[in-house]
Structures are given as C-alpha cells and as structure tokens.
C-alpha cells in the first residue's frame, strides 16, 4: 500500500475543510470543517506511522482526537452562549467591533 495515496487523500480532505471554513457561515458548520481538517491530519499521521512502523504517529492521533473533544466542548458552549444573546450563529453577524 502506498503512503502517497493516503497523503493525497489527506491533502484533499484538508483542503475541503479549509474551504468549509471559508464557505460556511453557520458557526457550527465552520467548526465542523475544522474537525474535517483535523481528521485529514489524522489520516496523514496514521499513514506515515504505517510507513515508518513507529507508534508516535498513532499517539499523536490519539492526542488530536482527545484535544478535539475538549475543543468541541468549549466551542459549542461558546456558540450556545452567543446564540442566547444574539439569536444568531451566523459568523458574518459577528461585527460588534469594527475597523
């Protein structure tokens, strides 16, 4: 199995995640796009770990997944909080501070 193909897939997914951040205006979806980027990273790491036969890549993935969980907790809390105040989670509406 060639690592190359996995890396290519990972780059594609990463780019799609980036596009998601830029395209979507719903804060939750923006956030999900970031998760997609992290997933792409995970794929690259596992592929490299396979190629190198070293465990460090797997460990890294483990840490990323868990950190993502922590991020999600805080991120969703933020979104809920701002929804309560503003009744909108459209990030284009975040323009209280100008210029």
């Amino acid at each position: 199995m060639q690592t190359e193909w996995f890396i290519l897939l990972s780059v594609i997914l990463f780019t799609m995640g980036v596009l998601g951040v830029l395209f979507r205006r719903n804060a939750i979806l923006v956030f999900m796009s970031v998760e997609l980027m992290l997933n792409a990273t995970n794929l690259a790491l596992v592929a490299f770990a396979h190629q190198w036969g070293s465990e460090a890549g797997h460990l890294f993935v483990f840490f990323i997944i868990t950190v993502a969980a922590a991020e999600v907790a805080v991120g969703l809390a933020l979104i809920v909080a701002i929804f309560r105040t503003k009744h909108s989670i459209n990030i284009d509406d975040l323009r209280q501070m100008e210029g």
Binding site: E4, L9, M16, I28, A47, F62, I65, N90
Partner: protein, 427 residues
C-alpha cells in the same frame, strides 16, 4: 485488493466531505461528516491501526458528532446558512485553497515520498556481569571516538545493566572491578543493532563477548524468544532441554543443542507458559532423564511471559568451598508489542507520553470548567427593569404626539421626557 479497498474508503470519505460542504441542512452536513469519519476509520484498519479505528468510531463519530447534532437541534440552527452576502470570500477562498492544495500536493506527488525510509536506529547496548571471580561492584564504561560514557556502575555479579542508546561506531568496553585491574575489549556497534555485552568465565581475566539480540515484535501470538548463552566451562558445550511434565512424557523437546563455550544459541520462539528446563552436557536429547549426572542445572517451573526476548545465561557460580557450579540466569527484556494495537499504544502512553497524557487530563478539566462558565447564567443577575406605572393619564392624542413629535391637541398633558423609569436599585 488493497487498492480496491483504499478506493472504496477514499470514495466514501470524499462523498461525505462533499455532503458536509454543500448541504443546506446542517444536520445533513453533520451526517456527511460522520460518513467521512467512518470511512477514515476503515482506512485506519487498512493501515494497521485497529485501535485508532475504534477510537475514531467511538469518540469522533460517536461522542463528538452526537454533541454537534445535539447542539444543532437544540438551537434550531439546522437551516441557518443564509444567502452569501460576500461572494468575494468563496471566490478568493477557492483560489487560495486550490493554490494551497497544489502547492502541497504537486511536489509531494512528484517526489516519491514512499522512498523515505527510517534512518536506522542508534544501537542499543547493555552489559551482563557473569564473570565469576572479579567480584561485585563493577564499573563499566564505553569509550567512543567522541566521548566515553558510563554503561553501568556498581554492578554486582549476576546483574544486568539497562539498555543504553549510543551513536554507532567503534567502542572500547572497559570493565573495572572494585580494586582490580581494568579489562578492555573493542566492540563495534552498527546502526540498528541491539547488543548485550557479556563478561564471563573464571579467574582474574574473564572473557568478554557480544551477543546480538532481537527486540522487534514477536510475530507469533503469545510467544517469546529465547536464546541460551554458555558461560559455564571452557571444556563443556551444553544443551537446553524441556523435560516435560511428569504427566506427559511426550511434552519434551530440545531447544538448544550443543552450544560451545562462549557462544549463544539460535533463537527459539516459545509459547508462553510454564516450562521445566534442564541444561545438560553435550548433545541434548529429548528423552533425557532429569535425574541423571549430565544435568548441570535445572529450572523446574520456568514461567515464560509473552512478548519477551529472553537471554538465558548458564554461568559458573563459585561455591563457598571454592568449587564451581552451574547456575541459570534468565535475563528478560520486553520486545515491541504488535504494531498499532491497544497494548502498544497503552505502553507508550504510560511511559514516554506520560506528560502529554496528564496534560490532556488537565486540558479536559479546563474545557469542562470553560463550558460551564460560558453556559451558566451570569452570577450577578442583570438588574430587573421594572417600568413604573405612569402616573399621568395617557390619552391617545398624547401617545400620538409623543411618537410623531407633533402636537395633536393643544394643552394636552405631556409625557415626562423620560419614558422609561427604573426603580431605585435598593429593591
């Protein structure tokens, strides 16, 4: 076959991502992401990472995405993605993102990254003290071209040092017994090798030799490697036999045959369990009777654990009366657990990666506190705004007047300038 499987997984992952990107409905997007994550878990399996595949499904697709969907439904935010107000962002964004994609992907594909190989690891070396007569408290140093480093200090007879990683190259081992003359011996350590230096033999000038070891994963499940080293008597070659249990005469075997003095046997792979081992002179035989003369030493119930590399040293132990006697010293060392499994990851997590693991715990705690802080209502409640009942009569004309700014009727009682009065804060 693998290519087909990869193609399958990759397609599903991409389809999921596209759904996530393009769906108008946030819930559909979330489900698309779940699909992608599932496909990635499948690919992890292809890449020999079963444990991560499991985590990916449970934590990511399970816990995290459920949380997402929960919040989407809670806020009723499933269809919030409104009309694009700023079309320049997608345009520029697409351009930049594709630029990034090509900047990363093109050179990666034109340079074959599959060719990248791990540079051979640095050699590892340890020292076994099996020299009968040089006494305890031995210091061992490894003198290299660049610097000399202590390998062991205060090492007693029958003890073994830890493995030490050194740069590849030629070294001189110096063994200094307590109050004795220093013995030296040149050794060469090549990259990627794992070596055990054994000092053995009787008298003031014991011999020094190097036994190569193999710490890679033991491929057979629940098994270990065993090597036997003969350090007993220059005149005798030995064999190691399993004389079996008393109940099963057939469960006998010769594992190492006719090992000359100062050499190690071939590697034998054994399944975990209890063994009754005997070390005999000369040619080993499976039908040997453990009671007879040529048995030098024996281990009645030797427990062999899995995933080990055992170096069994048969060496000469000096008795109180000056005679010598064979003695067995099994020196075990952990081999690499099978790649990608939970055991492998678990071991790393609890040894090398202890610090980030603990930090992760603190991080989750902080995130928890943060989530609570953000979603809990403010401690000091906003002062209630209670409108005082107006004391003035409010004829309709008056209201119209106040709203339009025109005076509808002359002499109508006017509203006070402030329409919103608050109660004094001392309520």
């Amino acid at each position: 076959m693998e290519t087909v499987l990869f193609g399958f997984g990759a397609t599903i992952a991409l389809v999921g991502a596209i759904i996530m990107l393009s769906s108008k409905n946030a819930v559909h997007s979330a489900l698309g992401l779940v699909l992608t994550m599932g496909a990635l878990a499948f690919l992890f399996l292809l890449l020999n990472a079963p444990f991560l595949a499991m985590i990916q499904i449970t934590v990511y697709a399970g816990a995290i995405m459920v949380l997402f969907i929960f919040v989407i439904m809670l806020l009723g935010a499933d269809k919030l993605d409104l009309r694009e107000r700023f079309p320049v962002v997608p345009v520029l964004g697409t351009a930049l993102a594709s630029a990034m994609f090509f900047a990363i992907a093109t050179p990666l594909l034109t340079n074959n990254i599959d060719l990248i190989e791990p540079p051979p690891a640095n050699p590892q070396v340890r020292f076994v003290h099996a020299a009968t007569d040089i006494g305890n408290n031995v210091a061992v140093t490894l003198d290299g071209a660049l610097r000399s480093q202590p390998l062991a200090e205060g090492l007693n007879l029958r003890e073994v040092s830890n493995f030490m990683t050194v740069a590849p190259g030629d070294y001189t081992v110096s063994i200094t017994p307590e109050g004795g003359a220093t013995l030296t011996s040149p050794i060469s350590l090549t990259a990627g090798s794992v070596q055990t230096i054994v000092a053995y033999g009787t008298g003031d000038a014991p011999s020094i030799t190097v036994v190569p070891e193999d710490l890679s994963t033991v491929q057979e499940a629940r098994s270990s490697r065993v090597i036997v080293f003969n350090a007993f008597d220059p005149d005798i070659s030995i064999s190691m036999v399993n004389f079996g249990s008393e109940f099963d005469e057939n469960d006998t075997a010769t594992y190492a045959n006719n090992i000359p003095y100062g050499t190690a046997s071939e590697t034998t792979t054994l399944i975990e369990g209890d063994y009754a081992l005997a070390f005999v002179r000369g040619e080993g035989s499976s039908s040997v009777n453990p009671g007879i003369d040529n048995v030098l030493a024996r281990e009645e119930a030797y427990e062999l654990e899995r995933d080990q590399s055992k170096l069994i040293v048969l060496f000469a132990e000096r008795q109180v009366d000056g005679s010598i006697r064979a003695s067995v010293d099994p020196l075990g060392v952990m081999t690499r657990p099978s790649f990608g499994g939970p055991r492998a990851i678990g071991i790393e997590l609890f040894t090398t990666y202890m610090l980030p693991f603990q930090l992760l715990a603190v991080l989750l705690l902080a995130a928890m506190v943060g989530a609570i802080v953000l979603t809990r209502h403010a401690v000091t409640p906003v002062k209630q705004r209670v409108n005082v009942r107006r004391r003035v009569a409010r004829p309709l004309t008056n209201v119209i007047a106040s709203q339009t700014g025109h005076q509808v009727v002359d002499d109508a009682p006017q509203l006070p300038a402030e329409t919103d009065q608050r109660e004094p804060s001392g309520d």
